[in-house]
């Protein structure tokens, strides 16, 4: 079975280490991610101004393309794209006046009414495959890996678009358990990474990162598990700055959840592109004997 899939721009450049292991893993699981033949940027951030309809055009246009190709569900990998697409979809479902204005302007010849269901890959794994079946497919259980599931904001907020209980999410923890790892519960798992605020206040990046890393490591985590390229960027840079500023601060590997999935399914570490990660995850994996021996990973150009 194929699933209509929206990658998003960052997954094609900086976050290939989020996309490529996901595509390979889903193929191995028999649910192929079928990239939309035509798509544009999701809009990057959902505009909160009520009358700012022009910035809703990008996400809605993508949803219309999905509808036009006859798919009813759209899978996303990037938490930010999920958030933007899902919120725009809710607008198209719930606000008849804005819906008409947008459909009229977008001019794609169909009256879109929010029919497409936008889901995150974690929801596909949880609801369409199931943790039990996933656990059964694991070839390399990630035993002894103490991982802190970091949700950030956009998977869970606002409540209307949350893929899990926004106060007490468990989906990432259950996912990690299915892969044989030991999830570490820590109170900062839903704290904001700084998001786009760091554009205006670049120096604040360490202040956003500090409590998250302190909390994760004091609860015994060896690495952080992410779903969002923006979290990766902020936390990766944040901890590098912290290590420079603060003696004794130890950088922690950052994983995308899809890299762990591919690894646990026994796929080649090549598809994980660990060379793009922050915090040298390969040394941790080697230490735990979880990095299958293959010819050395070639850093890819670009």
């Amino acid at each position: 079975m194929n699933l209509a899939y929206y990658p998003g721009c960052t997954l094609k450049t900086r976050a290939r280490n989020l996309e490529e292991p996901a595509v390979a893993s889903m193929e191995a699981l028999g649910l192929k991610l079928d990239e939309l033949p035509r798509w544009n940027c999701c809009g990057a951030v959902y505009s909160l101004a009520e009358d700012d309809l022009i910035h809703k055009v990008a996400p809605v246009r993508n949803l219309i393309r999905v509808r036009k190709q006859g798919a009813s569900e759209l899978v996303t990998l990037c938490a930010f794209c999920l958030n933007t697409l899902k919120r725009a979809n809710l607008l198209m479902k719930g606000d008849a006046e804005k819906r008409d204005t947008l459909n009229d302007f977008i001019d794609e010849g169909i009256a879109y009414r929010g029919e497409v269901k936008v889901v995150h890959l974690l929801e596909v794994l949880r609801d369409e495959i199931g943790w039990g079946i996933l656990a059964g497919k694991v070839r390399l259980p990630l035993r002894q890996l103490r991982l802190a599931p970091y949700y950030g904001c956009t998977l869970l907020r606002p409540r209307e678009v949350a893929i899990d209980n926004p106060e007490n999410p468990t989906v990432l923890g259950e996912f990690l358990k299915a892969l044989g790892a030991s999830p570490v519960d820590f109170p900062e798992s839903t704290r904001c990474c700084g998001s786009y605020q760091v554009m205006n206040s670049p120096d604040a990046i360490t202040e956003y990162a500090r409590p998250i890393f302190n909390s994760a490591s004091s609860h015994g985590a060896e690495a952080l598990v992410l779903t969002c390229p923006l979290c990766d960027y902020n936390l990766g840079r944040g901890q590098r700055e912290l290590a420079k500023k603060q003696g004794g601060f130890k950088e922690m590997p950052l994983f995308y959840f899809t890299q762990l999935l591919a690894l646990a399914l026994g796929l080649s570490p090549h598809v994980c592109h660990f060379e793009l990660n922050h915090g040298s995850p390969e040394s941790l994996l080697r230490e735990k004997d979880l990095l299958p021996r293959v010819e050395s990973v070639q850093p890819i150009g670009g």
Partner: protein
């Protein structure tokens, strides 16, 4: 000149003659021309012009002397971008003035040039990394996917898709999608995000051509062979041959048959 001949006379001739004659004579002349006159509006003013003319020729017929906003007159230079509307339709239409023939009641304005900053770069220093485009044209990320650029393209390019390709770092796709771009600037004139699409696409095509497309190995081999003098003897022979000899060689040359297969060779293989 017989009536029949007059009828046959091309509109172009009529236009040429018009410049030489008095207005009165022109009115007379126009009556004789076969082409029906239709009303068009150039920058809001009404003119009657023979149908079948291109917008550019119609403007000249109406008395405009174009020193900018016209170039190749063959639809490839991109100098004559034009916008128009027709009564009863809110849609803005676009065309190249040298290609599109006039239609009754068109409201026409030319946009021969639209300001757009071209980034300065030393191409030798530019790699094929997506970030090269991001750095030189950061306004790329102001695109809101409104698609006005695509609607404004007289070449039918999926402009917005090419912008999206650049955003996702797919320079090859941007280059291929924008291959027919003639840099008329109409996309840029309509852009909500104030992007300079046509300059970005030019950069994409340069990077694609120089850094992404695989080099043609046979070309390098052939250039090497030429430089090593493989063909010097043939050229010297031709240079020394007299006129009669050249004519004879030309007339008696062996032509590859249309049905020839890949392994076809001429009878005389001394120059291969």
């Amino acid at each position: 000149m017989s009536a029949k001949q007059t009828k046959k006379k091309s509109v172009a001739t009529a236009v040429r003659q018009r410049t030489k004659k008095s207005t009165e004579a022109v009115v007379k002349e126009e009556k004789k021309v076969a082409a029906r006159l239709i009303p068009i509006y150039i920058m809001g003013k009404r003119y009657e012009v023979p149908e079948g003319l291109t917008i550019m020729k119609a403007m000249e017929y109406a008395g405009y002397m174009l020193i900018r906003g016209c170039g190749c007159r063959g639809g490839t230079c991109g100098a004559c971008g034009t916008v128009y509307r027709k009564p009863g339709d809110y849609k803005l239409m676009v065309a190249l003035a040298c290609q599109k023939t006039v239609e009754p009641d068109m409201y026409i304005a030319q946009i021969p040039f639209f300001p757009a900053n071209r980034a300065a770069y030393d191409f030798a220093e530019v790699s094929a990394a997506p970030e090269e485009v991001f750095k030189l044209y950061p306004e790329l990320f102001r695109c809101v996917a409104c698609n006005s650029c695509t609607k404004a393209c007289p070449q039918g390019i999926e402009v917005m898709d090419a912008v999206s390709a650049l955003k996702k770092g797919d320079i090859a796709q941007a280059a291929q999608l924008s291959f027919d771009c003639i840099q008329c600037g109409l996309c840029t004139s309509r852009c909500f995000g104030e992007l300079a699409q046509y300059h970005m696409f030019q950069l994409a095509r340069r990077i694609y051509g120089a850094r992404i497309v695989p080099r043609a190995e046979h070309l390098a081999e052939m250039v090497k062979a030429i430089n090593q003098g493989k063909y010097d003897r043939c050229l010297d022979e031709l240079r020394e041959a007299g006129e009669d000899e050249l004519k004879k060689l030309y007339q008696e040359r062996e032509i590859e048959p249309i049905s020839a297969g890949e392994d076809w060779k001429p009878k005389d293989t001394t120059h291969l």
